[in-house]
């Protein structure tokens, strides 16, 4: 009765190499090694070549950097949402905290970017985690609402108290010594984080994270303090965001209120939806599509948001699994018609 003709159905079969196990592969030939490495290599080489290919267009080179910043945020969002079960709309807060931390360390203490970026990442993540601690027992939409409030709150506090340069922001932050360093540092960060997190969620600790998401009561009953793990999850996600924020500050040589903007909360979510939640690579892919599209759409003026929204809605309605989930399935399985 479904779309197919006659009494046949489409069968999905794992390709030989996948059948042996989901994560441990028994590799016996160069062909199989290539099969496994090819998709990873495409990502790595693709990202590594992007700045070179775009070296003629500095504007688009800058877009690559922005893609990386959004990717870091999106990976964090995907990790937190699909592995820890916390839907965080606080992306803007992570970026803002990281940006201000880096800018303050740079302008007040005169530290160079090579020190401010790691320090801002760590410090920012600690600040974010501590501030989010009271909200960790919240779940679902409640956590989302509270985390959405944080960036708004932070921006208004800075504005009202006129601290950290108030509405002007912090000017005179050192830039990266050259554009190649900026690009490749960010690309390296994204690649390391993607593969590290993909490994992490397969480890024991990843199992606990997923347990917290699936059934937190059962995890509690196993004698595990779920708030510790949620805090760790927030720490990882906010570290990614702060890293992005710190890089952003040094890229623009400026930290300001716009780094608490809602864009940093919303675009990572959109990228995760488009790319495929739970894959961790998907969000990077999503950013690679959405950020350039949103740049291209600048010509449309205010219609930009409309076009953007339509694309997103279409994606959610027609392909809510996301590009990466779809592609992985096509790559790892083949289909054939069989008689019933």
């Amino acid at each position: 009765m479904s779309g197919s003709k006659g009494d046949r159905r489409k069968e999905r079969i794992d390709r030989g190499i996948k059948v042996r196990s989901d994560s441990v592969y028994a590799i016996s030939s160069w062909k199989e090694i290539t099969y496994l490495i090819a998709p990873r290599l495409v990502l790595i080489l693709g990202l590594a070549l992007a700045p070179l290919l775009l070296s003629a267009a500095p504007y688009w080179q800058r877009v690559v950097s922005i893609i990386c910043v959004y990717s870091l945020l999106a990976i964090g969002f995907d990790f937190l949402a699909n592995y820890v079960g916390l839907v965080s709309l606080g992306g803007g807060f992570y970026v803002g905290v990281g940006a201000y931390a880096a800018a303050l360390l740079n302008t007040y203490f005169g530290l160079p970017p090579i020190i401010t970026i790691p320090m801002a990442t760590l410090l920012g993540a600690i600040i974010c985690t501590v501030l989010f601690l009271p909200c960790l027992p919240l779940r679902g939409v409640y956590f989302a609402i509270v985390s959405l409030m944080y960036p708004l709150l932070a921006a208004r506090i800075i504005e009202a108290l006129d601290i950290f340069g108030g509405t002007d922001g912090i000017l005179g932050v050192d830039g990266f010594s050259n554009v190649w360093l900026e690009q490749y540092f960010l690309i390296l960060c994204v690649l390391v984080m993607v593969f590290a997190l993909r490994r992490l969620v397969e480890e024991d600790i990843g199992l606990v994270f997923r347990g917290v998401k699936d059934n937190d009561q059962a995890v509690k009953a196993s004698g595990i303090n779920i708030n510790e793990f949620k805090a760790l999850g927030v720490f990882i996600a906010s570290a990614l965001g702060c890293l992005g924020g710190a890089c952003l500050t040094h890229m623009y040589m400026w930290a300001g209120l716009s780094q608490f903007a809602l864009d940093f909360s919303i675009i990572p979510i959109a990228a995760t939806v488009v790319g495929g939640g739970g894959t961790l690579v998907g969000p990077v892919l999503g950013c690679m599509i959405l950020v350039p599209v949103s740049e291209l759409l600048r010509d449309f003026g205010s219609l930009r948001i409309a076009v953007y929204s339509i694309v997103l809605t279409a994606f959610i309605v027609f392909k809510s699994e996301g590009i990466m989930t779809y592609a992985a399935r096509k790559y790892e399985q083949f289909e054939r018609w069989v008689e019933i």
Binding site: M1, S2, D7, R9, K10, R12, I13, E321, T325, I340
Partner: protein
Amino acid sequence: MFEAAGLMVFYENMLALNNVSLQCGENKIIGVFGANSAGKSTLMYTLSGIILDIRKKEEMAGGERITIRGRIVFEGKDIMSDKPSLRARNGIILCPERRRIFPESTVLENLRIGSYLATTAQAAETLDYVLTTFPALKRILKRLGGFLSGGEQQMLAIGRAMMAQPKLLLLDEPLLGLSPAIQYLLAKAIKEIRDQRGMSIIVSEQYARPIIPIIDHGYILENGAAVVEGSKQELLDNPDVKSAYFGN
């Protein structure tokens, strides 16, 4: 009156229902027995049409591909492609496994949600009937569904299904996790409902003993296939069935 023929359901490559055929006459109680994973719930989902809904959701999420084959004829019409809501309008009402009570609505509200398809007069009359059949519900009409005991929840679930004016009532494991005393009480109530209201009932259960006295005809499912079929007496006399589903 109700006939399913050659039902096959695949969850991806796993065969959940293998060529199951089943008939249910007017005012009959049909029992479907089988162990865990025998395909009872899939059968119930297929008969009620929920499987179409599950298939759609899986498709959207990029999950398992569900393939459905076969024919379901109800009152002379092929309803295989009908959505669950349309099947419910036609009188096929599922009382789902694990009750699926609305936990944040009171007992009365739960029952009234069930009467969405009924006219006001029918709803009032059925409500009266449900409360007479399950007097335990009368005292707790104002209590929230989530705070009921397992037995009360099951009575409420059956009551809610009754409110939709079923011609064919599908009960998916109505005795799940209940004490023998309540199991006995519910089995008696199911028979009473059939006798007094005149409807066909298909009831699935793992353990046949409490249900077997009230059925007219029974099917045994194993690994998705109906391996034994027969009247109450035939099932009782079958030595294999006896050892597997009566616990002696």
